[in-house]
Symmetry: C2
Subunit: 332 residues, 2 copies
């Protein structure tokens, strides 16, 4: 295993220490809990947003903590849900009196633990609501999931809900905006090489030379098919085909487009993929109003990428373009 | 070769097409030249900044074109200097009457072509000056370089010179700030796996299982030694040792610290490295005023990282923290 780490069992704490040391203007850590909170939390009178999940997907989710996005991110072990104690501590800490909204990726462990923490916080008198993000069109069921998985599109939910909360929206309004975004959100990914969980020491799966896997999950969960390596144009057609089969786009529609690298894909290749995706959308008469290209939700050093389309209306366009100041998502 | 590309001989143009499609609010392309310019260029009365180099180091340098940083970036083929025609076209295009400043990484081909373009632009009556960035302390000579190489620290030169130019500095003042920064700038890197230039189809070098190379260049040029894979703490000590041997830091000094991924290193590992680097500096009584963690100057899908230290005084601190709005470097 070739990794720049110290103790494989301590990667999450050490990463979060480095993260907090790097971004003191945005965040701080809740001691001993692997929870990253907005530096100025709790923000009185604002709906507070809490997300999180297994580690190994950086910059998700801690990179999205800050003004205009999340109030807290709970980091589980690598590819493992955060526990109820962490989530409950995050909810208690960020609660500013206007309610707390949880953004949960649809994995069985995450849903279980976030919902349990929601119930316990409710018993303490904190009003909590939630959305379960399931943007991945690849598969309907998977090893870790009942229903579709949540992947990189989750970052758009952080942004949309975060902007609505920052603008003074109520808990119901924040939830309504998040649900509107989710209804218009689809993603699909693929991998060309695996990743290694530090504590395991060996790759999560193998992909023979010259092969790729379409629809692979961000923990290496099986996709829909293995094929010979294809061109960027062919791969984009398959991913965008999956997305638009489920979210029909019409001439004149406006969208935001994210081309997300899984960890080891060169920035150069992400832009080549993005070019293909923009060109497919333009050919349908769809206007790409906002582009995001880079690493937003990774899988350690997995090589591959995902595409995410968010269909916009005026409300979503306004919320998406609102300012945000977080370690991994600065918008002016 | 497992890459998300179409035609290996056309990767640079396709990447730049994707880049321009993604960031129309910041940049546009000079047709047929692989030159990215600031959207509102030429900016009348402002010193214009031009940089560039071989492709494969994305987001360098096109990602730094925009308000507060570069006016143009010239993209050569992968790991190949841009040619004189490109650089001259960039100079002509961005010249706003206050002079043009070139930021050149110290590689023989780059220096030759940028200086030739400078001379030709001078013949046309455009005042041009330049800085040659050689922040890499690893080696004094190398396959592509006389003297030290220019690596990730170049991004701090873009930022410092860009802020001075944006604030209305003259060509001499922009150069003076850039030289002040360079005097206080040192970097050192290492690799744990190689990269493949698309048109070559095979890795630029090999590194046996369980080995890493200290001081490797961003084109895979030899470093100073190969060793067994070490912990993040040990690697950081070696890199920071090389940096501080050349740039002695004293108690009370203030620095900016960049932990830069070379392409395939997980964000998690970069933060673990950053933690070690911050802790070594703090142990010396040095204050880290600003942190940058991520991919700033890559080597395609090479795995590894570099550390960069910029020692700050009041002038440099002000310029570094000034706002910038570019595809890969947004500061508020």
């Amino acid at each position: 295993m070739k990794k720049l780490i110290n103790d494989p069992t301590n990667v999450v704490q050490e990463m979060l220490d480095g993260f907090a040391a790097a971004h003191p203007q945005h965040v701080r850590l809740l001691e001993g809990l692997n929870v990253v909170v907005r530096k100025d939390s709790p923000v009185k009178g604002k709906v507070a947003l809490v997300s999180g999940g297994g580690s190994g997907h950086e910059p998700a989710h801690a990179g999205y903590v800050g003004a205009g996005m999340l109030d807290a991110a709970c980091a589980g072990d690598v590819f493992t849900s955060p526990n109820v104690e962490q989530i409950l501590a995050a909810i208690r800490h960020v609660s500013g009196g206007a309610g707390v909204f949880l953004i949960i990726k649809n994995y069985t462990g995450d849903v279980l633990n976030f919902e349990m923490a929601m119930e316990l916080a409710g018993d303490e008198g904190i009003t909590v609501d939630r959305i379960i993000v399931n943007d991945d069109v690849s598969v309907e069921e998977s090893a870790r999931t009942a229903g579709r998985r949540g992947i990189a599109g989750t970052v758009f939910i952080h942004k949309i809900a975060g902007a609505r909360a920052e603008a003074g929206g109520s808990l119901d309004e924040v939830k309504a905006s998040a649900e509107l975004a989710l209804k218009n959100l689809r993603s699909m990914g693929m991998a060309i090489s695996p990743c290694t969980v530090p504590a395991m020491g060996k790759p999560t799966f193998t992909l023979p030379d010259g092969e790729m896997e379409i629809g692979m999950g961000i923990h290496g969960e099986p996709g829909i098919k293995r094929t010979k390596i294809m061109s960027a144009g062919q791969v984009t057609e398959i991913l965008m085909g999956g997305i638009t089969a489920d979210l029909p786009l019409r001439k004149g529609d406006e969208v935001a487009l994210m081309t997300n690298g899984l960890g080891a894909t060169p920035v150069m290749e992400l832009y080549i993929m993005h070019r293909e995706a923009v060109s497919l959308l333009q050919a349908k008469g769809v206007k790409v109003c906002a582009s995001y290209v880079g690493e937003f939700m990774t899988s350690l050093e997995m090589s591959g990428c995902s595409l995410t389309v968010l269909r916009l209306n005026e409300e979503l366009k306004t919320l998406l373009s609102a300012p945000s100041r977080t370690p991994a998502f600065v918008q002016v």
